[in-house]
């Protein structure tokens, strides 16, 4: 139907993931851009080919998976959970035990990734379902408290189960990212070393980025599809009014358990991937702050939408680096100089001992926020601002921009 993109003649095309030509074109272009990023050939985005940025992008992909998991629970089924970090930790340690070095100091069976990666999700999902009956009895604030408990139970177990986690101060190493058929076989694909693909030299970071990107795309597709199924609609009906849903015949407890199970599966896989991405993790990684980060991702991005989660994740993951770079830039400007900008920035940034500044790159020397603290303040502010002014999150802003241009030059 050329020229009439919003006219659907079949239910299937109405419900399609990319249901307009613009979406198809943009989706394809985005994919091409993502695939080309490691080669640094895209003008304006060539800096992303640096290994440090590729690492950030890989982290974005992993966080997208975990964020989608929370989004299924929080955005679709309407169940608040502060326990997401716990399930990620479970997934990480299942992966570490199954895939870990059998000769190493900690428990490890040296199994290949095709076993430890699904197992990480499955075990986390089982624990999520086992926890479900307790969670299904409460809602809202009480559910938040119940799930909060998980983080602290997890923290205790992770800190003290030394043979699995390495203990509080030490942590353990995680299996490298490589596909192999069985334990000691040579890897079919090794993402953890620099080598050539089709004769094109690739760094480990570039290869890992492709892997995490593919994984994120698979989980995005699954999440999007879930949203469009009977189960997804049941989740949404529970979110919107649980009593009404039950009256309509939706098995509330059953679907809540499913939501916990699926969400925990996502979290478990993401936890395993995050740990493997970093290579070494201490138990404190799976703390409350990580859970809060995912709440921030879902709320800033826009609860209940896949695109929102992606936007939120990019925002939350890339922001610290941007704030840091901005701070370093301001520091350089102030240090090197004269000029109006330096004078304006001087009270904002503390450059030396005793100097006053809102931001202090060496926070021991005087008042001022460190880059890390500044980031936390920004997260907090943004969560509050989005909740008040834009409950649909970045996704909501995007929809408004889209609608504006759809009607342009008319206002509606």
């Amino acid at each position: 139907m050329r020229g009439r993109p919003l006219l659907y003649t079949a239910y299937e095309s109405d419900q399609a993931i990319l249901n307009t030509p613009t979406k198809k074109v943009m989706g394809g272009l985005t994919l091409v851009v993502l695939l080309l990023i490691p080669f640094g050939v895209i003008p304006g985005l060539d800096f992303l080919a640096e290994s440090a940025w590729l690492r950030i992008l890989s982290t974005v992909a992993v966080f997208v998976i975990a964020g989608l998991g929370l989004n299924i629970l929080l955005g679709l089924a309407g169940q608040v959970s502060l326990g997401h970090a716990f399930f990620m930790g479970v997934g990480a340690y299942v992966a570490a035990v199954l895939g870990g070095d059998p000769e190493g100091l900690r428990l490890g069976f040296g199994l290949p990734m095709w076993i430890w990666l699904p197992a990480a999700g499955i075990v986390a999902a089982l624990i999520g379902v086992a926890f479900g009956p307790a969670a299904a009895r409460v809602r809202g604030l009480y559910l938040a408290f119940v799930t909060l408990g998980l983080v602290f139970v997890g923290d205790y177990v992770f800190r003290n189960w030394v043979s699995v986690t390495g203990g509080a101060e030490v942590g353990r190493t995680f299996p490298p990212l490589q596909f192999r058929v069985w334990k000691e076989d040579p890897p079919l694909i090794d993402f953890s070393v620099d080598s050539a693909w089709f004769g094109i030299p690739m760094t480990a970071e570039a290869k890992s980025f492709y892997f995490f990107l593919a994984a994120a795309l698979v989980f995005m597709l699954l999440a999007k599809n879930l949203q469009r199924t009977r189960v997804g609609r049941a989740f949404q009906s529970i979110r919107d009014r649980d009593i009404a849903a039950e009256i309509m015949g939706v098995d509330e407890v059953g679907y809540k358990l499913r939501a916990f199970g699926i969400s925990s599966f996502y979290a478990g896989v993401a936890g395993a991937l995050l740990a493997v991405h970093v290579g070494s993790v201490i138990p404190a990684r799976w703390d409350l702050f990580l859970s809060v980060q995912f709440i921030a991702i879902v709320l800033i991005g826009g609860a209940g939408t896949v695109v929102g989660v992606v936007l939120g994740t990019i925002f939350v993951t890339v922001l610290p680096r941007l704030v840091q770079d901005l701070t370093l830039w301001m520091q350089d400007v102030v240090l090197s100089g004269e000029g109006l900008i330096a004078k304006i920035l001087d009270p904002i940034i503390a450059t030396q001992s005793g100097d006053f500044g809102l931001i202090n790159t060496n926070p021991g020397t005087g008042p001022g926020l460190s880059v890390f603290q500044l980031n936390q303040v920004i997260y907090g502010l943004l969560i509050i601002l989005f909740l008040i002014f834009e409950p649909l999150g970045l996704y909501g802003i995007w929809v408004r921009i889209r609608n504006y241009w759809k009607g342009w030059p008319f206002t509606y």
Binding site: E12, A16, I17, L35, E50, S51, A52, R55, I56, T59, L105, R159, V162, G166, G167, A168, E169, V170, G171, T173, P186, P187, L188, I189, D190, V193, D194, S195, A196, W197, F198, P201, M202, T203, E205, K207, Y210, F211, A214, L217, V218, L221, L274, V278, G279, S280, V281, I282, R285, R321, Q324, S353, G354, N362, P363, G364, T365, S370, V371, F372
Partner: protein
């Protein structure tokens, strides 16, 4: 069906990209990697240096990453915990470091090259540490320090890949172990040797001591130290009457009470506790109240002058019972290196509160200066050259600020056994000092001297 087939194509493409790596590509050659000795540039701008007699005129200096001879800079990375749990210790280290680097730069730098520090806040998070290393790896010649043990282990593989030298900012004995040592330059007596030194010194104070109680945090810091204490006890014939290794959790009052009860019940002559200052004082306070009369020591990390500040309940008792052997410099030490460092710091940082960790930063910067000078003089300021220069320092001297250290030979040759024995001194604190009185400099106990160090005392990583 259309939807499915389209996605199928997308995933096939993805699959092809992913499958493109064949098993035979596991060989180590990589066409993107720059060879170690990449660029050779003339150092023609430098007139202040004293040339070795074999060279005439401008000297050829090899460089790769982090050294810009045209701009006259050497960039060095610091991975520091500025906001995390150890920020109170690491911030003064960074301040001391920067102060000394400013001083080096002001007096001509490294043969005319100015040192530029890239300081990054790791927040004591392993993830952030790894991420920040990735960020710095293309711009620095070495890491002036790397805070935290699991953090430094997490970047060990990347360090080896990059030929990058790092100075670990922890005193884990594993840094001198061949398994981890390849790209690291540790400094100061590690935790387990520290225990041997301290216990040896306590035995010289009380030769009749027959029993010891040992307690520590879990992890490389606490348990390396506890293992050292056990090795010392065994060598000295002390009976371990209480073993609380890994039982202290500073955040958990109940664990402190449990350990204190264990110490009280065993009535030891010597107590060795390795934990944070607050937990150390908590355990000591409970034991003191129960009438335990013993000589106390622990890793220097347990020390903080706040524990004997005016009004502290244990002010007098701590001065009587506590002794530490510091692997780092002591503010009030009577030697040229320390005096120079203190003079430098007091001039540069107004209202400085004397604290040993400032000296730690100065000491690290002196180590950096020596390594870079040695690399420059050998004509190789590449990362590999810097690494080689560091590993061939036979008698590194800090002029007394830290004991001399040798970095060549077997682990048994390189491990530092010398330390400064101190005890808390309220008089020194009240006089504006750091609250420590030096009892012995360049001290090593018979136990530490006789100890054959071949591998880490406590295997935490692997």
């Amino acid at each position: 069906m259309k939807i499915k087939s389209r996605w199928l194509v997308v995933f096939l493409v993805m699959g092809l990209v992913l499958a493109a790596c064949s098993p035979s590509s596991g060989d180590s050659t990589d066409t993107t990697e720059a060879p170690a000795a990449a660029t050779t540039t003339e150092a023609s701008t430098d007139t202040t240096e004293a040339m070795t007699d074999t060279t005439e005129g401008a000297m050829e200096i090899l460089t790769d990453v982090g050294v810009d001879l045209d701009a006259g800079t050497i960039t060095v990375g610091l991975l520091s915990d500025l906001t995390g749990v150890f920020s109170a210790l690491v911030q003064p280290v960074v301040d001391g470091y920067q102060t000394k680097v400013d001083d080096i730069n002001a007096s001509g730098g490294i043969h005319g090259l100015q040192i530029k520090l890239e300081v990054r806040d790791t927040v004591y998070s392993v993830d952030t540490h790894v991420q920040l290393y990735e960020e710095l790896r293309d711009s620095v010649v070495m890491l002036g320090h790397s805070t935290g043990s699991p953090h430094s282990v997490a970047i060990a593989g990347a360090l080896a890949e990059d030929n990058m030298l790092a100075v670990p900012l922890t005193w884990y004995s594993g840094w001198s172990d061949p398994a981890l040592n390849s790209n690291l330059i540790p400094h100061g007596a590690p935790y387990c040797i520290e225990a041997m030194n301290s216990i040896g010194y306590l035995l010289s104070l009380n030769p009749d001591a027959a029993t010891i109680a040992i307690a520590s945090n879990a992890g490389d810091f606490g348990e390396d130290s506890a293992e050292g204490a056990k090795l010392a006890a065994e060598a000295a014939g002390l009976e371990v009457v209480y073993d609380g290794q890994a039982k202290v959790n500073a955040a958990d009052e109940a664990s402190l009470a449990e350990v204190a009860t264990g110490i009280i019940g065993s009535d030891p002559d010597i107590v060795w506790v390795t934990t944070s200052p607050g937990a150390y004082a908590g355990i000591y306070g409970q034991a003191l109240a129960a009438g335990v009369a013993a000589l106390w020591s622990g890793s220097f990390v347990a020390w903080n002058s706040g524990l004997i500040a005016e009004g502290s309940a244990i002010r007098d008792a701590a001065q009587r019972d506590w002794t530490f052997s510091l692997p780092i410099g002591v503010w009030g030490a009577d030697n040229q290196g320390t005096k120079d460092a203190v003079a430098l710091l007091t001039a540069a940082i107004p209202d400085i509160v004397p604290y040993e960790y400032y000296l730690e930063g100065v000491g690290e910067a002196i180590l950096l200066e020596t390594i870079l000078n040695a690399a420059y003089e050998s004509g190789d300021l590449t990362r590999a050259g810097v690494l080689a220069a560091a590993k061939s320092l036979e008698s590194m001297s800090w002029d007394g600020l830290w004991p001399d250290q040798n970095y060549t030979g077997t682990p048994n040759d390189t491990v530092q056994r010398l330390a400064t024995v101190v005890r808390p001194s309220a008089a020194d604190l009240d006089a504006g000092g750091s609250g420590l009185e030096v009892l012995e400099s360049d001290y090593t106990s018979d136990l530490a001297a006789a100890f054959e160090f071949n591998e880490t005392c406590f295997a935490a990583f692997g």
